[in-house]
């Protein structure tokens, strides 16, 4: 098991890289950032993803599919910051947490309503919803909280 410092560094590197460029690093990049051989980078990344944090690989691969609050595969939750739409939120609820990755900046979340396909739009800055269209937006999940980890991608 990697030491906690290495796990912290790996977590920070993956998430900050996604913030910076909009997509997740490969494990070889993780290795380079940690100054370890590629296989060691892969091992540390797998250990990190196995800690229970809401992140996962694409099945059967070493490719990061999701790393909360962002998603490495496009979702319907498009994130725009300062006119640049290059991120996707992991889910509708995590979309509200993306603002914490961009302190002091307005994060716009745009998504189609799954019922009617019409647009939902939120402007969120430092945890404050500055604008919500339409009014009366609701979140919904059909899985009890205690069962989320049994199938994180579905949750």
């Amino acid at each position: 098991m990697a030491d906690s410092s290495l796990m912290d560094q790996t977590f920070h590197y993956v998430l900050s890289t996604m913030v910076e460029r909009g997509f997740a690093p490969h494990y070889t990049e993780v290795a380079r950032a940690l100054s370890v051989p590629p296989e060691e980078g892969k091992k540390v990344l797998h250990e990190l993803m196995g800690t229970g944090i809401p992140c996962w690989f694409h099945p059967g691969t070493d490719f990061i599919a999701s790393f909360a609050p962002l998603n490495n595969l496009p979702t319907q939750y498009r994130i725009t910051v300062e006119g640049r739409q290059k991120w996707f939120a992991q889910c509708g609820f995590e979309a509200l947490a993306v603002c914490w990755l961009f302190p002091g900046r307005t994060v716009t979340v745009e998504a189609p309503c799954l019922d009617c396909g019409e647009l939902i739009r939120l402007d969120v800055r430092d945890g404050v919803v500055e604008k919500a269209e339409p009014e009366g937006i609701f979140g919904y999940i059909d899985i009890p909280r205690k069962d989320w980890r049994k199938n994180l991608p579905y949750s």
């Binding site: 796990m7 509708g92 947490a97 309503c113 009366g136 979140g139 909280r145």
Partner: protein
């Protein structure tokens, strides 16, 4: 975990099941505003994340009025 234009739209959705999973937007904002979510880029999130669990669970309990559907375990 999805967002809908209104409670009615959520209830109309083909995937709608247990109504206890409905949350007004402000409840989502409060739940995803705790340190567990705010501190992800603090540089020592993994080693310190368990310190955030009590606050996360307390806010969860308060916001959801401790409904069984929302209990962590």
């Amino acid at each position: 975990m999805n967002l809908f234009r209104s409670e009615e739209h959520a209830r109309n959705w083909a995937g709608f099941g247990d109504p206890q999973g409905l949350l007004p937007l402000d409840w989502v904002r409060r739940l995803w505003g705790v340190a567990w979510y705010r501190e992800r880029l603090n540089g020592h999130f993994v080693s310190g994340m368990m310190d955030f669990v009590p606050e996360r669970n307390a806010v969860l309990k308060a916001v959801t009025q401790d409904r069984p559907f929302w209990r962590p375990a």
